[in-house]
């Protein structure tokens, strides 16, 4: 019965041996397991060349994909003061500093103006790598300023969301940023300026329940997780597993919650087409208003006289 005692030698884990391939040269697609050459992956905007899996990309990368060339960044110096002096298992200040060092950003959003296929646009791009892209006072303030800047300069707005929601470490201050940004969007809306919301993986919580769902047009990347409550929270509530694909872009499209699903490689052109829909008429109107006001100013004494009721 010797074969009973035979203990099979465990298969050696490959991580035991030091790899001779430099770190980051090859990337394995988490969806189709294809081994991708990193340069090819970058060239295809971090979309798997085999199965079109969309890798997460950073905020700067995103701006590079959207803008024609250089852009002007605003408010990059804004930094949270840790208003609640929040400490959980480690101080929030430490988490902030670690994220600042890791991303080179001061918080989870970059706001900039630049041209998208020739159309000047105010863009906010969120950075998931900064404390899960969470929205605290700085994200709230920067996005609000980006919208107000658009109203002042009559520009359209594009916000690319990638966020776990409101930032717990700034408590209700974070919550109120939902109201603050939505208030600015109300003014943008009444100023008849277009707002395109681009949803990327993941967009959840307070970000979804405020500006992310307020776009005149809402465009999502394929298979992005988009929802209010996180899947785990829902599973705890209903005590059962969620069906495959629940809260993914395709599900939202089917339920009528978003307008379009667009592959990242087509995103810029799709955004530009919607911007163009919102732009020419607007410019014509603005031009008409300006022309009318100049005419009115020039002709003021005359028109006042003319406005007087005709004598019987």
């Amino acid at each position: 019965m010797a074969w009973f005692k035979k203990v099979r030698k465990p298969i050696e884990s490959p991580s035991d041996k030091p790899s001779r391939v430099p770190e980051g040269l090859w990337v394995k697609c988490p969806s189709c397991a294809e081994i991708l050459y990193n340069k090819d992956l970058v060239a295809s905007l971090n979309v798997c060349t085999k199965c079109a899996h969309h890798f997460r990309v950073g905020a700067t990368e995103r701006l590079r994909m959207l803008f024609d060339k250089a852009w002007e960044e605003y408010d990059e110096g804004l930094q949270s003061t840790d208003p609640l002096k929040f400490i959980d298992t480690k101080p929030y200040r430490k988490r902030l500093d670690a994220s600042i060092a890791a991303t080179g950003l001061n918080d989870a959003v970059i706001c900039a103006t630049g041209h998208i296929n020739g159309i000047e646009t105010s863009v906010a791009s969120m950075e998931y790598g900064f404390i899960g892209g969470s929205m605290g006072v700085v994200v709230g303030e920067k996005i609000t300023r980006a919208i107000e800047r658009a109203i002042d300069r009559r520009l359209p707005v594009v916000i690319v969301s990638s966020s776990g929601g409101a930032r717990m470490m700034e408590g209700a201050l974070s919550l109120m940023q939902m109201a603050k940004i939505s208030a600015a969007l109300a003014r943008l809306d009444r100023a008849k300026l277009p707002y395109i919301s681009v949803l990327t993986d993941p967009t959840t919580g307070g970000v979804t329940a405020s500006f992310a769902m307020l776009g005149d047009v809402i465009i999502a990347e394929p298979k992005a997780l988009i929802g209010f409550a996180g899947p785990r929270v829902i599973e705890q509530t209903i005590r059962q597993k969620l069906p495959e694909g629940f809260q993914r872009s395709e599900f939202l499209l089917e339920r009528g919650m978003i307008d379009l699903i667009v592959d990242r490689r087509e995103m810029k052109d799709a955004v530009a087409r919607v911007l163009r829909f919102g732009t020419p008429a607007r410019e014509a109107r603005a031009a008409a208003v300006a022309a009318a006001s100049i005419a009115a100013a020039a002709a003021l004494p005359v028109s006042v006289a003319e406005l007087a009721p005709p004598k019987p």
Partner: protein, 326 residues
């Protein structure tokens, strides 16, 4: 005997004693000792409530006997007609809306409703509103705007309902649209947080010219248990989370996120409905009087600026790029 919270134990001991004494035949001497015990109980209760921790306030805010929207509606308003349904899908029982009169003035009312006994709680979905609730609320707000009637909002919800149908029908969109549209409703909106202000589920109907919190209510970006589960990886650290999140009325006022605090009777609103109602009444009539002389446009501007200033430069954040130059 009223339902007591764990930290009210010393009061409970006295109340039990009073109960035991009142079972016995009445004598003037017993009457006197009952009276003195009652005074002692009130005193101790007052002391306990003067120094509640944030977590204890969460428990008070969630107290099953705490007066809720319909309790206040019944005591403060006359001729209340509840209005139902969002005209799209259903009537959400976790948010109550309606029209009524307040001191002879027509007003609209919107408020969360949690339910008290098990049957009611299930009917009200424990105060967890679905998308329909937010859409119904907006419908009633727009109705009020059409006829220039002020709106009174009561907030008392653990959160928006985190269930499948909520997601399918777009609870995030429903809340988001309310945030945007409530900024543009020209009539006065007075918001009173009377229990739990549970994150987006609360905020979705809590945009107003005056946002007031009752003394022992709480307002939070996430329930302390949820925050503890995520950041501490242990839901039992809720006491610390409640402390860290700055959820009390005093904290919220200090952070500039609410406009005022409505005091509560000693021992909390659930201990004396009439006294609690009188204090809400006073605050509400003051708020409505403050709002009345303004034009719609002025109100909207002030409302915008109020929320615009939440999280200000210098306190909540600084501009590191704008370092003073030599």
């Amino acid at each position: 005997m009223p339902e007591l919270l764990e930290f009210e134990e010393p009061v409970g001991v006295l109340l039990k004693e009073i109960e035991a004494l009142s079972m016995l035949p009445k004598t003037p001497e017993r009457e006197r000792s009952i009276e003195s015990l009652r005074r002692r109980a009130d005193e101790i209760r007052g002391e306990i409530y003067a120094t509640l921790t944030p977590w204890q306030r969460v428990l008070v805010a969630r107290h099953p006997n705490r007066p809720n929207t319909l309790d206040y509606v019944e005591r403060l308003f006359t001729n209340f007609d509840e209005l139902h349904g969002d005209r799209r899908f259903a009537d959400d029982h976790a948010i109550v809306t309606g029209i009524a009169e307040y001191k002879g003035q027509a007003v609209a009312i919107v408020g969360h409703q949690k339910g008290r006994d098990t049957k009611q709680k299930i009917f009200r979905n424990f105060g967890y509103a679905r998308p329909e609730g937010y859409r119904k609320a907006l419908r009633v707000l727009q109705f009020a705007q059409k006829f220039s009637r002020p709106v009174v909002v009561f907030i008392d919800t653990p959160a928006a309902y985190p269930g499948m149908e909520s997601e399918e029908r777009g609870v995030a969109e429903a809340i988001a649209v309310n945030l945007r549209e409530m900024m543009m409703i020209e009539v006065p909106i007075v918001v009173i947080v009377c229990g739990e202000g549970g994150s987006g589920g609360a905020l979705g109907i809590a945009i107003g010219d005056r946002v007031l919190m009752q003394e022992f209510s709480v307002y939070s970006v996430i329930p302390p248990e949820g925050c503890a589960a995520i950041l501490w990886r242990d839901a039992n650290r809720k006491v610390e989370a409640a402390d860290a999140l700055k959820i009390t009325a005093t904290d919220m006022l200090a952070l500039g996120l609410i406009d005022g605090i409505i005091p509560e009777p000693s021992g909390g609103a659930h201990n004396d409905y009439d006294a609690a109602t009188a204090l809400v009444d006073q605050a509400l009539s003051q708020a409505l009087a403050d709002m009345a002389p303004l034009t719609g446009e002025e109100r909207l501007e002030a409302r915008y600026m109020k929320f615009r200033r939440m999280g200000e430069e210098g306190t909540a954040f600084t501009d590191t790029a704008a370092a003073p130059e030599a």
